[in-house]
Amino acid sequence: MSPTLKSLLVSLLIIATFTACGPDTLYDLSGDTFQLRNSDSTQVNFPGDFKGDISLVTFIYTNCPDVCPVITANMTNIQRALDDTSGVNFIEISFDPKRDSPSTLKEYRDLYELNEQFTMLTSHPNDSDVLLDKLDIVAEKAIIDSLGHDSTNYAMRHSNTLYLMDRDGYIRTEYPAHRVTPEHVKDDINYLRSE
């Protein structure tokens, strides 16, 4: 390989690394406060209460039979892949607050044996979706005829998103939550740690 080609490749690689997890901010939450509740019904200020730590933030509904448990499994796989999990939060925010009360979230975290590094968050059922809108998270009821449908029995069409948020409340990277490999996220977390 010629030296010119080699240096071109190296600089391309640097650019690629830089763009993948560079200083670009996808969403700036540094000045925002969203009041949510965790699985103990305690009020949580998002993202303020998580500042100073790196956070993985994903979005689920607990009535989700297939894909959301895959997302949760992937979160625990990322947790396992990290050699050091200190200073990292694993946050799952419900986009179905009408059914996902704090106690429902508590059941979910018990069922899936999520440890204390996980925070499950929901909003008040009547709150507007300001946070979801700001983060471009789509979630809407989807009716499947054979399952019947009423106000409590519905499935959802939803985003499949995992965000990496830095210590200052800037969302820096976005992944397909159910499919990203733990190694990929681990590298990006280590990058943020080194900043």
Partner: protein, 160 residues
Amino acid sequence: MKSITHFLLILLSGCLLFFGCSSESNSSNESDSKKEVVLGKIALDNAWARPGSQQGKSAAYLRISNGTASTDTLLSFSSNAAESVELHKSIENDDGTTSMQPADEQVIPSGEKLHIEPGGLHLMLTNLKRDMAVGDSLQITLEFARAGTVTTTAPVQIQN
């Protein structure tokens, strides 16, 4: 002469109609009484289900291997742990969102496998009859067009 031809034609078409119908019902009677001999068997393995709470939902997964000499079709699903079981498919929409929908009829060619696994097909269990926690297990019964019913036991697990 003309009227006789006419009469014969009517008679003939009447016979045809009659035979058409009767041969159809005959063939279904035949397959009921004379059970088809199926060589080989349909094997189920890697079955497991997600935890869930009574009256709630869960999903079950397994692998189906068609070891018979012919193509078979999955007709229906049931479980001792849920009021109803449906085969669903998680799909990715063009806008990047995910949703699920009832899956099409599944046809499994001889010698092939059907993977019902997370993120693709799932057996959707609704109206669970009891809480299902890690360590419990449930029965899943599948009915095939040729091979009849096949049952397996699925432990409740957390996906890794």
